[in-house]
């Protein structure tokens, strides 16, 4: 199989090609075309194919990570969107949960009010209502179809592009929403249509309506993008199917994504976590913290034997809006190479979250930035080499970094090197706190994990961050700078089905559960078969979202396949107690448990990238040595300069234990190995760093 993965970043579009039969992989970087990213993407693919003589018609799949929907959400540039909702509840989208984002602010923004996706004039109500009695839905008020048609007519006159249908309790009975959708497809096929039960059949009306509105808001843009991308690919001779990365760490075909673009809001970062997971697998590590550090932010993901961690329902949001769709649990903090260090009005020494970005960028870029950043501090300490910045392709100005850090040092009354180290200490601790919230605070001991250093910035700071958390080992993958593109070639097709049921453990209806699971599984299997998978390549996973009766938040627990009976039902409750205890540090063993949602995830197995081979370029350590220069590190409590060897990664000998301090150079990043650490290069190109000596 021949696969292409394309990840589009802010500056570069990364393309990776792999032939799963021969194991050969090729990499190419091309500038991102911001206005229409599909142009840069197709350019990149064409350039790569031409350079390496790849027959375009031989490509079997193109995998793609996209930020089209994410950017539309973050920049609030979406379609003119309207909502049809239940009479009496016009403003659910505007009221939200009536809680302010900030406790102590008069001037704060309320995202769902200040940046509404559906203006009040386009929120119309119709007579209809589903009620609930003993957990079962019933039609309380029939749907007024005439009113629906009248409203749709008005929307058409107003130039509405996208119509969202959100009715109360539609997660239990979606007939009214479906009927409105039918009317639209019969009489107003020009509207982009989203129903709330279709994108998120779960309770909590504000969150469900917001998810549906987000889908409607970004939908037309995404649909247009995919159409233009497919036609460009066709024009260039690539006619295979296009698979888009979704937030749940799987891919979906272009037809599905055109209908549910809300699934792709974490497309890029999710690919990053998968890339980290792949890097871990190369070194046979199953428990990983993926740590992807860029210019302005760092993304953290957790991988265990069970795969990557997923967010709980209720924890997922984009642009201040709740978005209730399955997502990889990715925690993003505003800390990266461009984070600015400053002294605030109260005299505190802070770093970030403000970033110098690419323009003006860190002071050392010489683009007019005068404020000291994390990159400047790294340079001042000699941990970055000005001759080899981005493989020497970009000129940088160390004296400007020194000046910027010196200004801050004078303000603080500290020395230059002390201040530079302080900047790194503060930002590294901020990052460590973020990792703590995803590990220690969720019952995972980071000492049992490896840290995967990803992104251009990961290999520079990861080892210091690992030290703070007592993580014993850092993995630097073969190409840290193109982790996301690589990650795209490690995924499967993945579809989720969910159903809210509200069933307490002391009133379980086993027949109903078994019947519903079977029916959800049939539904998902049918989707996968339609996507071209045979049953040998389809696997199904079951989950419950549970809570103790009376609680308000659910935890996801895995459920074995096969019929649930009285004997194995108790395993489910035991699992929940265990997960609750791990997550919160406590369990209520005598309390009844409520199943809130049942979930089925269907996976269609895809071909994947093989292991890279770095053995061919391997030399001796002497040959890999580029130079020895002074770099500052803290050892035995003292900050001092070390004569630090700089090695070229591509020439490093395989398997040798290399002592820190040293700097390892490669095109897409620089790895900083402090004293008291050792680094070992593997034949697949990964560098394993052991903290505290032992290799």
């Amino acid at each position: 199989m021949k696969l292409i993965g394309v990840d589009i970043g802010g500056t570069f579009t990364d393309v990776i090609y792999t032939d799963t039969d021969t194991g050969v992989s090729r990499i190419h970087k091309t500038p991102t075309t911001t206005n229409d990213p599909s142009v840069g993407m197709v350019n990149g693919i064409s350039e790569l194919c031409s350079r390496y003589g790849i027959d375009r018609s031989s490509v079997d799949h193109v995998f793609h990570g996209t930020t089209i929907a994410t950017n539309a959400a973050l920049e609030h540039k979406g379609a003119k969107t309207a909502l049809i909702t239940t009479k009496g509840y016009r403003d659910i989208l505007q009221i939200g949960r009536h809680q302010r984002p900030e406790n102590y602010s008069i001037t704060q923004e309320i995202p769902w009010q200040d940046r509404t996706m559906v203006e009040r004039r386009y929120r119309k109500t119709v007579s209809e209502r589903v009620g609930v009695l003993d957990g079962k839905a019933y039609e309380k008020v029939p749907l007024d179809e005439e009113a629906v048609v009248k409203i749709l007519d008005e929307f058409k006159q107003e130039g509405v592009e996208s119509v969202v249908v959100g009715f109360l309790f539609s997660y239990l009975d979606s007939a009214h929403e479906e009927r409105v959708k039918e009317i639209i497809s019969e009489k107003f096929p020009e509207f982009y249509v989203t129903t709330s039960a279709d994108v998120s059949p779960q309770f909590r009306e504000f969150e469900r309506f917001a998810t549906a509105s987000m889908n409607g808001f970004v939908g037309p843009k995404m649909k247009g993008y995919i159409q233009s991308l497919e036609s460009r690919l066709n024009d260039t001779g690539i006619s295979c199917d296009l698979l888009i990365m979704t937030s749940n760490g799987g891919v979906a075909n272009s037809a599905t994504v055109s209908q549910k673009p809300v699934m792709t809001l974490l497309s890029g970062p999710a690919a990053g976590v998968l890339g980290g997971q792949w890097a871990g697998k190369l070194s046979h590590h199953e428990r990983l913290i993926t740590f992807d550090v860029g210019g302005t932010s760092a993304d953290i993901g957790i991988v265990t034997e069970r795969g990557f961690a997923e967010s709980s329902a209720g924890d997922t949001e984009i642009a201040g809006y709740p978005v209730q769709v399955p997502m990889i649990d990715i925690y993003t903090i505003g800390a990266g190479g461009g984070s600015i260090a400053y002294v605030d009005a109260g005299g505190a020494f802070k770093v970030g979250p403000q970033s110098a970005g690419s323009y003006p960028g860190p002071a050392c870029y010489g683009r007019g930035g005068e404020l000291p950043t994390v990159t400047d501090a790294t340079l001042v300490l000699g941990r970055l080499d000005s001759d080899h910045f981005l493989d020497g392709e970009m000129e940088i100005y160390p004296e400007k970094a020194v000046q910027a850090v010196q200004n801050l040092a004078s303000e603080l009354g500290l020395g230059l090197y002390e201040t530079a180290e302080g900047i790194l200490t503060i930002v590294n601790n901020n990052m460590a706190n973020a990792i703590r919230s995803r590990t220690i605070q969720k019952g995972f001991d980071p000492r049992g994990f490896s840290l995967a250093a990803l992104g251009g910035g990961g290999p520079m700071c990861s080892i210091e961050v690992a030290k703070i958390l007592d993580i014993p080992e850092v993995i630097i993958p073969p190409y840290p700078g193109i982790t996301s593109a690589t990650g795209l070639l490690t995924t499967d097709l993945k579809y989720d089905a969910v159903q809210t049921i509200f069933m307490a453990s002391d009133k379980v209806d086993l027949n109903y559960l078994n019947q519903r699971f079977t029916s959800l599984e049939e539904e998902i299997t049918a989707q996968l078969i339609e996507a071209g998978f045979d049953s040998n390549h389809i696997s199904l996973l079951r989950f419950f979202d549970c809570r103790y009766v009376g609680q308000g938040y659910e935890l996801r627990i895995p459920v074995e396949s096969g019929p649930i009976d009285k004997s194995n039902a108790s395993d489910i409750w035991d699992t929940f107690h265990t997960v609750h205890k791990r997550e919160y540090g406590h369990s209520f063993l005598n309390a009844p448990i409520e199943i809130v949602n049942m979930r089925v995830t269907g996976i269609g197995e895809m071909p994947k990238i093989g292991d890279p081979d770095f053995a061919a370029g391997s030399h001796s350590l002497d040959e890999a040595l580029v130079k020895v220069a002074s770099a500052w590190f803290r050892a035995d409590g003292e900050l001092k300069a070390f004569d630090t060897p700089h090695y070229m990664k591509s020439k490093l000998p395989i398997g040798d234990v290399i002592a820190g301090p040293c700097i390892i150079l490669q095109k897409d990043t620089t790895s900083v190995i402090p004293p008291d650490c050792t680094a070992t290069m593997r034949s697949n190109g990964s560098i394993i760093v052991k903290i505290g000596g032992e290799a």
Binding site: Q99, R100, N103, R121, G131, G346, A348, G552, H580
Partner: protein, 589 residues
């Protein structure tokens, strides 16, 4: 001020500040996730904090209600007083429960759990959580809407520094007594256990921090953070011109009472700025109501309403980012609150329903401060309603507490916030689909009224209408405010609109109810409707951008008629008639 900068380097100080904040966030997150009653898990009516051995705050949870975290040091002070009087001591493994409103608690339902933390046998501080418990066995079901309590004994169980764990062992008899005396027993005890579990996590994290950095460093960081917070607040106070800023505000009290001492109650605020100090003098405020629970305990409610409002306005987190909430933010402010008044009641005055009066006090302080910093405040806020719904299913009590949103007034450069909790609290509503799935209630309407926003250059926020229908036999009680006195308009903005409470019987007959209603039995088909208050307008509406006025008309926030009469904007269909608008606006006096 002592120069604490020297005792700790700024890098370590920043590292510890972040680590402490992280602990408090974890505590808050876990308590919200573990707890049972919606008042804690959905409305976030709880707080968590770490205190040092002297009771100074090291950190407080940010994902909770300010009114809960802020008073925690006061709780500890009360606990210490009682334990000293009674001759008790802290021991490792103890858990202390406290809720006495005359000893630091904000009011009785807010139960505080305190876990002393020891490092090498030395008491180094406390890990604490407070949370609004659903029921403490007061005279009617629930722990809100107890508006006819005549003294603190009628408000439910009083815990005065009671050890519920002694040296690691649960004190069974106390737990039995709690179980015997509260309604919705499993929920209340479950929430209490969640609070204790949260305190223990905090204690463990605090200890880990001390083990890693050393006690001296943690203490130095504490002093550094307190000084830091004090310094930033003083810096902002110093920018305000010296002088005294005066305001009065009124609350309904008991509008249906024949006793004039129970209604139309006044808050009198003289806010004096001198250099970087501030004095808030509440002399002139109405006398306490001896036998009705709308009095505000001074430590815990009155002081918090003052501190939190000033801090919100002067250190707005949108501009200032995260500022550690600690004793430093209190030091520059002195409060004078005469004993025997609403803002400093004396024993055994009841206080359980002091929430809404507290928000009105906060609003009055904002009004006074608005004269000094008009760009940093909002016009008058719409106050809240809280309703306790209850009944029996299979001989077991169910209790559900519903908090109704208020709204904020217009702001400098920005319209008011619609349908939000206001000022010193920040609760959250419960999803309709959750309520109807778990209680015999139906939320039959939840949306904004049309043409309700107060006029202003920046319009006031809109409060929603919320109708809840009983689908089975049950009962309710209400504590609310804001039916008589409209939220104030500011600087030429119009006043907002007060709230209304309406009871509808099976036949659809409507009865107006006052803002406080004692327990009332109900039958299926009966409905309680709250028409939310709308915040005041900010600035002269004739200066509002006509395009925004048009948008408001299209969005039904204001009517065509009001657009013309109050904003001077003439609209026909979807268009602004610019010539007529200009003419109308130019002749506006």
């Amino acid at each position: 001020m002592v120069d604490t900068k020297k005792a700790i380097d700024p890098i370590t100080a920043q590292v510890l500040s972040g680590a402490l904040k992280n602990i408090a966030i974890e505590m808050g997150h876990k308590l919200a996730r573990m707890s049972y009653s919606s008042i804690i898990r959905e409305s976030n009516d709880f707080g968590c904090a770490l205190l040092d051995e002297n009771g100074q705050q090291l950190c407080e949870s940010v994902n909770s209600t300010p009114l809960q975290s802020g008073p925690i040091p006061g709780y500890l002070q009360g606990i210490r007083e009682i334990m000293a009087e009674r001759g008790y001591d802290f021991k490792p493994g103890d858990v202390i429960l406290h809720n006495s409103s005359f000893y630091g608690a904000t009011h009785q339902p807010d139960c505080g759990f305190f876990v002393p933390v020891y490092y090498k046998d030395e008491l180094i501080g406390f890990s604490c959580s407070t949370a609004h418990q659903l029921d403490l066995g007061a005279l009617s079901p629930g722990s809100i809407g107890i508006i006819d309590a005549v003294d603190c004994f009628a408000e439910g169980l009083q815990f005065k520094a009671i050890k519920v764990y002694e040296e690691g062992k649960p004190v069974d008899m106390v737990w039995r007594m709690i179980r015997d005396n509260v309604r919705a027993t499993d929920m209340v005890v479950g929430d209490m256990e969640a609070q204790i579990a949260t305190c223990r996590i905090g204690a463990q994290r605090y200890l880990e921090l001390v083990e890693k950095f050393g006690l001296e460093t943690v203490r130095a960081a504490r002093d550094y953070m307190i000084d830091y917070s004090e310094r930033v607040l003083r810096h902002e106070i110093a920018k305000i011109p010296d002088g005294t800023y005066h305001s009065v505000g009124y609350i309904d009290g008991y509008l249906d009472s024949e006793d004039p001492k129970r209604k139309d109650l006044k808050f009198d605020v003289n806010l004096t700025v001198k250099g970087d100090d501030m004095i808030v003098d509440l002399t002139g405020t109405s006398d306490q109501v001896d036998d009705r629970p709308i009095n505000m305990p001074f430590p815990g409610t009155t002081d918090m309403a003052v501190y939190l409002t000033i801090r919100t306005i002067l250190l707005d987190s949108k501009k200032f980012g995260y500022i550690p909430q600690n004793a430093g933010l209190i030091k520059p402010i002195k409060i004078i609150a005469p004993e025997g008044t609403l803002v400093n009641p004396t024993y055994p005055a009841p206080t359980i329903s002091r929430f809404c009066p507290g928000n009105a006090l906060a609003d009055t302080i904002m009004h006074a401060l608005g004269q000094a910093v008009p760009d940093q405040i909002c016009a008058g806020i719409g106050n809240l309603y809280m309703v306790a719904y209850s009944g029996m299913i299979d001989k077991k009590y169910w209790v559900y507490m519903d908090i109704m949103a208020g709204s904020s007034g217009g702001r400098y450069g920005k319209d008011g916030m619609d349908a939000i909790d206001v000022l010193y609290a920040n609760t959250r509503n419960n999803p309709i689909e959750d309520i109807e799935s778990h209680q015999p209630l139906s939320v039959t309407r939840y949306e904004f009224p049309d043409d309700a926003a107060a006029s202003g250059k920046y319009r006031g926020g809109v409060g929603p209408i919320r109708d809840i229908e009983f689908t089975d036999d049950g009962g309710f009680s209400v504590e609310g405010e804001g039916q008589k006195y409209a939220p104030w308009g500011f600087n030429g903005g119009y006043d907002g609109t007060p709230s209304k409470l309406i009871f509808k019987n099976n036949k659809g007959d409507e009865t107006s109810l006052p803002s406080k209603v004692p327990y009332k039995k109900t039958h299926p088909g009966e409905t309680l409707e709250i028409v939310g208050p709308c915040g005041g307008g900010y600035g002269d509406p004739f200066e509002r951008d006509p395009k925004k006025v048009l948008a408001d008309v299209l969005d039904d926030y204001i009517s065509l008629e009001r657009a013309k009469a109050e904003f001077g904007v003439v609209i026909e269909g979807h268009e602004i008639l610019w010539d007529e608008t200009e003419l109308l606006r130019s002749t506006h006096g």
